[in-house]
């Protein structure tokens, strides 16, 4: 057997193993995170976006299916649930600050969520998207499992909602800082809250990495908006249609 054949055989063996894809994901993330820190936390050098690009290019070049990749990566994906539960702790630790700002929090939820829903509806209508796509997009600002549940309820396509939700997170995390700076919004709590409400977990991860208090407000906004959006959408949808 030639050397090339042997190498090919090893590759065929390894790429069938979960370990290979877990290691690749960790490596890509470490590189992304290194570049993010090297860039002094520049939001455009978003570690999630970089690692996604590295991994998906490798999958496309090597012609590996997503199912095969996910068979390994699911072990990383699994921790998303426990990590969500763990967000209770930073919220608990900042409970006094949250109670002090309870009025602004409630107001921002009651104004921010309808704004998020209506802006998606009007923009999508403006761009002449079909009703089914509009319904698919409407719940995009909340964490993917909630968004998918809502999409199913109102007649959207849940799997597309998942894709649109993740893109929303990445856009918010990588461009949000610039938008906030243009409008000169300086308050860290308010900035964090905006990130969590507009771009759920990925926005929260960005806020956490930049400022712990902003991260807590983001986590809080993410949780509250998940609950509030499910209620608001059902009410607003009756008004829209």
């Amino acid at each position: 057997m030639s050397k090339e054949d042997k190498l090919y055989e090893i590759w065929v063996y390894l790429q069938a193993e979960p370990l290979f894809w877990i290691t690749l994901t960790l490596g890509a993330y470490l590189l992304g995170d290194y570049l993010y820190k090297k860039s002094k936390l520049n939001p455009l050098v978003n570690p999630v976006a970089i690692s996604i690009l590295i991994v998906s290019s490798i999958l496309l070049i090597m012609d590996v299916s997503y199912d095969r990749y996910f068979n390994g990566a699911k072990f990383i994906h699994f921790m998303l649930g426990p990590a969500t539960v763990a967000l209770a702790i930073p919220i608990y630790e900042k409970k006094n600050l949250i109670l002090r700002e309870i009025k602004p929090i409630i107001f921002s939820i009651f104004l921010g969520i309808p704004f998020a829903i209506l802006i998606t509806f009007y923009l999508a209508t403006f761009f002449k998207l079909d009703q089914e796509i509009i319904l698919t997009m409407i719940p995009r600002n909340v964490t993917a499992p909630i968004a998918m549940g809502i999409a199913e309820l109102i007649g959207g396509i849940p799997s597309l909602t998942a894709i649109i939700t993740i893109i929303t997170g990445i856009i918010g995390a990588s461009l949000g800082t610039f938008a906030l700076n243009i409008f000169k919004i300086k308050d860290m709590n308010a900035r964090g809250f905006g990130f969590g409400l507009a771009s759920h977990g990925i926005g929260t991860a960005r806020a956490m990495s930049k400022n712990k208090t902003a991260g807590v407000f983001a986590a809080l906004a993410m949780g509250l908006s998940g609950i509030a959006t499910s209620i608001f959408i059902l009410i607003l949808i009756k008004f829209i249609y």
Binding site: T25, Y29, D33, V48, A49, I52, S56, Y66, Y69, A73, K74, I76, H77, M79, G81, P82, A83, T84, V85, A86, A88, I89, I91, Y92, P104, G112, F115, A116, I119, T120, L123, L129, M137, R140, N141, T143, A144, G149, A162, I163, I164, I167, I170, G172, L175, G176, A179, F183, I185, D187, N189, A190, G194, L197, G203, T204, M208, A221, G226, I227
Partner: protein, 125 residues
């Protein structure tokens, strides 16, 4: 580490069970978050729980530090399936970009305004 992981998993499990049982649209982990928060506020008040609280807190912060990493597997799925968006891809991207940034700025703006109002009122008293 193991003890606190066990507790976090246990709360997620409870959240998932409640979600299935009552068929609510809020995902299990978010219910788990609420339960763990309530547990900390109402049941771990006494100082005798200081040690376990500290342990759970350390583990939680360690997991949250890598929150970004946990989105990579689904993110790769998005890139691999982006063609599902079909001809609408660019319109959808435009709606997402404009909509997300406007929502973010609007929410942060509202909150900052109210926080500042609150501060002024406190000063006046």
């Amino acid at each position: 580490m193991l003890k606190s992981l066990f507790i976090i998993f246990l709360f997620q499990l409870a959240g998932e069970a409640i979600q299935k049982f009552f068929e609510i649209s809020i995902p299990g982990p978010v219910i788990g978050l609420i339960l763990l928060l309530l547990f900390f506020i109402f049941f771990l008040k006494s100082t005798s729980f200081k040690k376990i609280k500290k342990k759970i807190s350390e583990t939680s912060h360690q997991i949250i530090n890598y929150l970004s990493l946990l989105f990579v597997p689904i993110g790769v799925g998005v890139v691999m399936h982006v063609n599902y968006l079909g001809d609408n891809l660019f319109k959808i991207l435009a709606v997402i970009t404009i909509g997300t940034l406007l929502t973010l700025v609007f929410t942060a703006f509202v909150m900052e305004k109210i926080i500042n109002l609150q501060k002024k009122n406190v000063k006046r008293r």
